[in-house]
Symmetry: C2
Subunit: 224 residues, 2 copies
DNA sequence: ACCTGAACACCGTTCAAGT
DNA sequence: ACCTGAACACCGTTCAAGT
């Protein structure tokens, strides 16, 4: 009767029972908040109010924990509303991927060691492939096109992301302005323009548009 | 006379005196050989035959060591021979970037925390910007185009890279074939084609060509 | 000056013991 | 069964001492 665990409802400080998913969510939250370096098994456990070793009941390894975090993050991608031309639909899809990656700042340039083959990631890929095939691409072109779009988006998200976009731009701009103009004529005269590409949505949209234009050209040439 | 340090020439086991560069090179070699996880200050020091703390004379931090490794790797990029059309020249440049990233497998998806502003990286960027401006792009378009090409290449290199390309393809293919075809019609019917995009040069070249085509279209439309 | 061992505050994970 | 403290083999880095 006096056991503190009896009540089935939510206690003030208590949570639903631990699960792999909840462990992954907590780990992702911690990593997003304080950086991947701050994520340790011991730290995570104490944050969850459990013994360190209890974590190993839900996750074999720290490596498996990192995998679970990637799954957890990609799960947000399910159910994106897609409409319009095939270009618009792909744009929407890629923006969603980019946003998800951005939402988990240090959480995701982490170590994606192999192809992303969890359920959520595959659903997104399926959506992309359907859009491309319906647009008229054959299977091989559709697969290549999706991969190119995805890796472009991934590269942008992991390398053109916060923190502090303005600081990135300023840092880049002053580094370029400090270059000897005779040795770096193009860069030092385009310092402002180059700095602008270091953050924000617009540089992402630029490349995405070019990629989609290139795909459209391929589609037209194959239809002739 | 009997001091083992007197001789200025190369001893059997001895090396030139330690420097930040040599420390970075050794760290990069170690990380490439055994993975980034195997790189520790203690391990690196003992491999160099010095006390752990001696490393801190050449590098403030482990973080600074990682920065130095990135510098070291990008240094390989200097002096790429560029010729042909602007498309061919950019192709050559991007291939070189991709190869350099591939040469340092775990060494480089590491933590590029900010814009790459070291001398070698900037020289490569300068080359790219010159090619684009000579082709007729204005400064803003050239900056955007270079950034898109670079991030596409970066995404590909860090996410489509070894180890074991064939295993990646097989793993992807069987995961896709295991999907329920009614829920994943596009992916399960294109399992082979999708798997093929998971490794090799050809998928990289596909997206690069589309990007370059899109850029050419932009260039033509701006010239009218 | 330059180098470094010892020490401190951490890690991930094994193992054996607690309930 | 489920959970976990203690212990082991590591970390990065500070500090004070060696030459």
């Amino acid at each position: 009767m006096s056991s503190p665990r009896k009540a089935p409802g939510a206690r003030s400080g208590e949570q639903e029972p631990l699960s792999r998913t909840r462990v992954a969510a907590a780990a992702l939250a911690l990593a997003d908040r304080e950086g991947l370096d701050a994520l340790s098994m011991r730290r995570l456990a104490s944050e969850l109010g459990i013994g360190t070793m209890t974590l190993y009941g839900h996750v074999k390894d720290k490596d498996e924990l990192l995998d679970a975090m990637v799954e957890q993050a990609t799960a947000e991608l399910d159910r994106v509303e897609l409409s319009g031309s095939w270009q618009d639909a792909l744009r929407t899809l890629m923006r969603a991927i980019r946003q998800t990656l951005a939402r988990h700042p240090s959480g995701l340039h982490l170590r994606v060691k192999g192809p992303l083959l969890n359920a959520s990631a595959l659903r997104v890929t399926e959506a992309g492939m359907q859009i491309l095939e319906r647009a008229g691409f054959d299977k091989a072109s559709a697969a290549h096109a999706y991969r190119a779009l995805f890796l472009y988006t991934f590269g942008f998200a992991s390398f053109n992301s916060p923190p502090d976009p303005e600081a990135r731009k300023r840092q880049t701009r002053s580094a370029l302005l400090a270059l000897p103009p005779d040795e770096f004529p193009a860069l030092s005269s385009a310092a402002q323009e180059a700095a602008e590409t270091m953050a924000g949505d617009e540089p992402f949209e630029f490349g995405l548009d070019r990629l989609l234009d290139g795909l459209e050209a391929l589609l037209r040439s194959s239809e002739d």
